[in-house]
Amino acid sequence: MAIDIEQIKDKLGFGEDKIYAVMGEFSDPHDLVHAGRRIREMGYTKIDAMSPFPVHGIDAAIGVPYSKLGWIVICIALCGSATALLLQWWCGTYNYPLVIGGKPLFDFSFSIPITFELTVLFSAFASVIGMFAMNGLPRLYHPSANYRLAHRATDDRFILLVEADDPKFDPQITAEHLKSVGAGTVEVVIG
């Protein structure tokens, strides 16, 4: 059975003819924040930024809402507490009741350390797995890698981009806008 490359490309959501975004780069994090704010003031909503390290104020500048990950973590953490308490109560009281050192079969005193541990364990898993899931990771391909200077975002460049599904997006006009706020090497990225 012959593999239809075009079909797979289409299925995975990338193809030569699809515009992903207009991307530009800055060599200074302050310029990135400043330009991001100005691009947002022009009415764009699907803006993203890439930087080698966390840049203060970029979330507010390009309008990234505060992460909802915390709510996922608290729910899973409370599940962890409940799991630990139920486990200790069920094992100690029903499954294998055993009196040790004259202590009760179940008590909130001795069950707290295990409850604490399982709460922390569940929150850690929820944080890491939740972060990966909400970022759509892991993935083998991302169109932003087609940008000529994409690899510099892990080194010494700060990249600003406007995605093609932005309602105000127009390849030429948006590219002009990005240049007007000081971005260098502006490219229309396809993929």
């Binding site: 203060h56 608290i74 050192g101 202590k103 005193s109 350390p113």
Partner: protein, 394 residues
Amino acid sequence: MSMNQTDNYQLDATRWAKGRNTLMLTVLISVIACVAGYLNDPVQFHRSYIIAFSYVAATGLGAFFFVMVQYLTGSAWSVTMRRIMENIMITLPACAILFLPIAFGLKDIYPWTNRAANPLLGTKGAYLTENFFVLRTYIYFALWSIWIFAIYYQSTKQDKERSARQMNVIARWSAPGLFLAIVVGTLASYDWLMSLEPRWYSTIFGLYILSGGALTFMSIVTLICLGFRRAGILKNSITPEHYHDLGKWMFALTAFYTYMAFSQYLLIWYANLPEETIWYRHRSVGGWLGISLAMPFIRFLIPFFITLSRPAKRSLKMIAALAIWSIIVEYVDLYWVVMPTYFKTGPQISWMDFATLAATLSVCALVFWSRFRKNKLAPVGDLRFEQSLHFENA
């Protein structure tokens, strides 16, 4: 925006005098009330006073610890409010004077002063003698005071000199100073509070009291900053970003306190040795049981879950509520530590509990305020001051 506005870092003289007069009046009224209480019922006065004294001393120790931590970690976030912290720290030497009523009332406070009633003290009897007890306390205060005055002197000197020298000198003092705050602070808490039940012992007790004191300190800093903000003092220097960090600290110390308090309880519960469990036994009878059962809720669950979310820690109203809540429950906690020694059946609240607390707090507040007459409201000479003004949480 506040970024472009600057604050006046010197307190206005008339404003300072007004504050001093109010505090003087409070000191006067509360001290008169304490004297009246002493003449009326010296035993009750001394018992109320040991709580009031421990409350301000633990807060002062918390301040001592935190100021040194700020220097050792080189933190920038806290610089704009560090003078407030340092002025609270300098109330600790004043506690040496506040200790005098205890030094003269040992017989009313400590059961170990009555040898006939405590024949089983054993070798502890050599340690818990009245003269040695007072001597030890003043050695603790002498050590702390040397460090505190040295740090405070360098910090105010930096306001004028604006050099990195003072910063480095204080950091050098701070490393051994942490030892003084924690280890000597632990010894002090053993003397002042643990020896109330002379045969009982718990090695974590010092950290239990100190973590409570650290939380009170952070809460008081928050309330002072918010009060200053309302009065328009340091309004542009202590921003919501700084309050967010104070909120984080109160949250963290709430958890840390709980860790200490629960560790102490769990180990004693598990080992189940009569000489250790007696302390909790005294706190699980009569009216004390209710407070003991409420402790996990008022000291942990309620403040923890209320301030768990980021928006809560960024709300000035919420952190003000958390700070007020924390300083109230800390007093309840110390009351619960001290009073079961005397009242076996349950709490017996006296008006002197409030009068003595008002006296120690207002004396410390006066010491705190008096430092602002000449000194700046913030360490403007600190090299990280600019950085702190523009501090933002990630």
